[in-house]
């Protein structure tokens, strides 16, 4: 079933009958079928579009099917050792299949060793193999370590932190983090 609202023709009901919008008591109710809006969608004084708490996924490339805001807890780890992290803050917004995360991890000491060093805890798994990279503001890494953002492998929820030297990138290791510092930034990536 579909109901068509058109700025010129008013409401067209499933049986083909049209009626002017004027005078109709449109104060509430639920439409369970498709609604086609022929003109501008004006949400009035509320200015809000609400999506269900659980995504109703669409395979149509022209359909917006999800919106969610929230927080997450970013955590930095390596193959062994640990960090003292007095601040672990992350916020995200998901629009359709696009996730935008901002994060900040402050650490006061580290016994991490081995590589890779990763920042885990992203709120959704990444899809595809395009290797999204964050823009970051690192602090507290070894002076010879030119830390760059790193990358987010497909199918995972972590950023693999990397460094740059002589034209090559390689993974940051625990020894590149001698003491306190920060790792904060933003990453945009695709999910389902």
């Amino acid at each position: 079933m579909s109901l068509i609202l058109d700025g010129s023709n008013g409401i067209t009901f499933p049986n083909g009958v049209s009626q002017s919008l004027a005078g109709l008591p449109l104060t509430g109710g639920t439409l369970t079928g498709a609604l086609t809006v022929g003109g501008i969608l004006n949400t009035g004084s509320t200015g809000q579009l609400q999506f269900p708490a659980t995504q109703n996924p669409s395979s149509n490339a022209n359909t917006l099917d999800d919106y969610e805001e929230g927080t997450f807890t970013p955590t930095i780890t390596a193959t062994s050792g640990s960090m003292v992290m007095p601040n672990q803050q992350g916020v995200y917004t998901k629009v359709g299949n696009m996730v935008t995360c901002t994060f900040w991890v402050q650490f006061t000491s580290s016994t991490l060793s081995g590589s890779p060093v990763i920042m885990s805890g992203l709120p959704f798994t990444a899809t595809g193999s395009s290797r999204p990279s964050p823009s970051i503001r690192p602090s507290g890494f070894a002076s010879a370590t030119n830390v760059i953002g790193g990358w987010l492998p497909g199918g995972t929820t972590y950023i693999q932190i990397q460094k740059y030297s002589a034209g090559n990138t390689s993974d940051v290791s625990g020894s590149d983090i001698p003491g306190g510092g920060e790792y904060g930034g933003t990453i945009v990536y695709m999910t389902t």
């Binding site: 997450f72 890779p116 885990s120 798994t125």
Partner: protein
């Protein structure tokens, strides 16, 4: 006089193909029993990771999903990503 209460509930748990467990905790503010606000906090857990402090129902799902094979495959995937 109105009564405000806060509840927390795990309202979504997802296990991905490679064993990552994602869950969402909803914090709901109720006024006289009716929800007036809601916020979300998401957590992702990777196969084999320490589950200390995680909710019991999430731990149960992790323990069911994280077979030795799943953990080994996930660790192998991480190793394959090194220095690329």
């Amino acid at each position: 006089m109105s009564t405000l209460t806060e509840t927390k509930v795990i309202d979504q748990i997802t296990v991905t193909e490679n064993g990552i467990v994602l869950y969402r905790e909803a914090t709901r503010i109720l006024k006289d029993g009716e929800q007036i606000a809601q916020t979300y906090h998401r957590t992702s857990l990777t196969p084999g990771q320490d589950l200390t402090g995680q909710p019991a129902n999430v731990v149960a799902i992790c323990n069911a999903a994280w077979t030795e094979e799943v953990i080994s495959a996930y660790q192998a995937m991480i190793a394959a990503h090194q220095d690329v």
